[in-house]
């Protein structure tokens, strides 16, 4: 096995025990990038010299007997919406093609302090708007499991980098499924964290009441390791929460108490529209949990069927507001214009891609006088009902088990001409964002050589330990 193929845990343990060096891992990772990046296209920027230098720094610290962090020497990629000082942060948009991050995001700082080797910035749908990474302003990313198919999105580059062993882990951001759906499509693990569990300082915002950063990894155990490092309250993000405290138990769960978790199956997620492959995989997965002694019962989330509609009002409304800052004045390229208004119109008209323009215009409409209450106000009320459904369900059960996506990965161009069809890819992932609760994609086992299918475990707010523990039990058996 090549060093870049190891899990994050095995990588860090091997380096700390002196079995191999961080530099060897970095070189193996860069070799893999040389070999496969051309056909996959996961990265927007990789700085090889920096990768080798930061790996060498980890080796030097170990050689001199110094203390190294919990992720020492692990090659980790960052979605290009996360700021890493001095590096490009394009958010997949031409409007930011010349921008370089002026400061570090909190997650970047924490990962670096833990000893990560930052491999590069990954491709994504422009401003995280999309479910296939086809909306990137720069290039396509191909699914390493089948190059004819999309990697999912919007964190498609991060998912592909991990699935192709071009990073041991990556960070993504998830507003309506952008970590979990590409993780499901590429056959890896992806954790959407509880709202407020991870600081978003230095994350280019899309929809601020929904966005969360989370890990994308080869195993659930790896996701727990990265999550533990990046979680926690941050004075620089006022939405981060003091409840975000996670001890060592999140890395070493007590499986006896995990086995006592009650699993709920929300019936609305299984009412038609599932691919036969997904349907079959879900029955197998539910069967596995029953066979292993779990209590499994049907529950109902009656308002989840409205989640997509609520999302496609709230998200564009918030995005249209957040993206107002990309005005050609403070960042990126400045085009020639006779006055300020023409500069705005031109810079934004030429700098943004189709999906971004579509969502900003939609958001502007739903927030406009005369329509505000009918659309935005109504959607906020239905969002409250969706959250209440989860609160009720979690009185009966501890976690929910559902498919992550209704289909297996689709082919390029299959949905890119019809926005509504594309939006339906996120139908099972959006509700967790609306309710602010954590959810984990886990690849269904036994699908080697076939297109990946993922299942989703959703938990109570700040109870990542439950869903990660359940996932570790599933993958360790």
């Amino acid at each position: 096995m090549k060093l870049n193929e190891l899990t994050l845990k095995a990588t860090v343990e091997g380096i700390k025990k002196g079995e191999f060096k961080a530099l060897d891992v970095a070189k193996a990772t860069l070799d893999e990038i040389d070999e496969r990046e051309g056909e996959i296209g996961a990265y927007l920027s990789v700085n090889k010299e920096d990768v080798l230098a930061s790996a060498q720094a980890v080796d030097n610290a170990i050689a001199s007997g110094g203390k190294v962090g919990d992720l020492a020497g692990a090659p980790i990629a960052l979605k290009d919406v996360i700021l890493y000082k001095g590096y490009p942060a394009t958010a997949g948009s031409k409007i930011l093609k010349e921008y370089k991050a002026s400061y570090d995001s909190t997650v970047s700082r924490k990962l670096r302090e833990a000893g990560m080797v930052m491999v590069g910035k990954t491709n994504m749908d422009e401003f995280a708007m999309g479910s296939s990474t086809e909306n990137s302003g720069f290039k396509l990313t191909r699914n390493p499991r089948d190059l004819e198919r999309v990697p999912g999105g919007s964190s498609g580059g991060s998912a592909a980098a991990v699935a192709a062993d071009m990073a041991s882990a990556a960070l993504g951001s998830d507003t309506g499924g952008s970590i979990r759906q590409p993780a499901a499509f590429c056959g890896i693990v992806g954790l959407k964290t509880t709202y407020g569990a991870v600081s978003r300082y230095g994350l280019i915002a899309m929809a601020s009441s929904l966005d969360q950063i989370g890990p994308m990894t080869k195993t659930v155990e790896d996701a727990a390791m990265v999550f533990k490092v990046i979680a926690g309250q941050d004075p620089l993000d006022s939405t981060s929460n003091s409840k975000a405290q996670y001890g060592n138990k999140i890395l070493n769960p007590d499986f006896e108490s995990i086995k006592k978790l009650k699993i709920g199956i929300p019936k609305e997620y299984f009412e038609g529209g599932l691919d036969s492959d997904v349907e079959r995989s879900m029955q197998e997965t539910i069967g596995w949990f029953k066979k292993n002694g779990f209590s499994v019962e049907e529950v109902s989330l009656p308002n989840t069927k409205y989640a997509l509609s609520v999302y496609y009002i709230l998200m564009p409304a918030e995005a249209s507001t957040n993206l107002a800052r990309f005005d050609g004045i403070r960042y990126g390229t400045r085009l020639d214009a006779k006055d300020l208004e023409e500069l705005y119109l031109k810079d934004r008209g030429e700098g943004f891609g189709a999906e971004v323009k579509r969502r900003i215009t939609l958001g502007t409409f739903v927030l406009s006088a005369g329509y505000y209450e009918a659309y935005y106000g109504k959607a906020q009320r239905v969002r409250a009902l969706i959250k209440k459904d989860f609160d009720e369900a979690f009185k009966k059960v501890d976690v929910l088990l559902t498919p992550t996506t209704p289909t297996v990965p689709f082919k390029f161009g299959e949905k890119s001409q019809n926005p509504l069809q594309m939006y339906l890819s996120d139908i099972f992932t959006i509700p967790a964002n609306l309710a602010g609760i954590p959810a984990l994609n886990i690849p269904v086992k036994g699908r080697e050589g076939k297109l990946p299918v993922g299942f989703q475990i959703t938990g109570k707010a700040f109870r990542e330990a439950d869903i990660l523990g359940l996932g570790m039990l599933y993958e360790s058996s």
Partner: protein, 88 residues
């Protein structure tokens, strides 16, 4: 469509206007299903968190961090095109 794009300060071509108009009609057609949901007496969920009034010390951070990213600058200040058109 033109009105809202202009409000959002985005210049669209004729072709874009026609295309997005159709897309938006389709999306808005879908979301009208929300009118079926009874929401009398339901308080709107206005954000993702229950936290209120979060304060921190307003301490100065690093200086001169942002100027290098400006597309046009002058002595560390951001330069913009003229806003008012007048003859002195």
């Amino acid at each position: 469509m033109r009105k809202y794009a202009t409000l959002a300060r985005i210049k669209l071509t004729e072709e874009e206007q026609t295309r997005y108009q159709k897309d938006l009609e389709e999306i808005l057609g879908h979301v009208t299903e929300l009118t079926k949901v009874k929401t009398e007496g339901v308080e709107p969920m206005t954000g993702g968190t229950e936290l209120r009034n979060v304060f921190r010390e307003d301490a100065p951070g690093e200086k001169d961090v942002f100027a290098p990213a400006f597309p046009e600058e002058s002595n560390g200040h951001l330069k913009v095109p003229k806003i008012l058109d007048y003859e002195a």
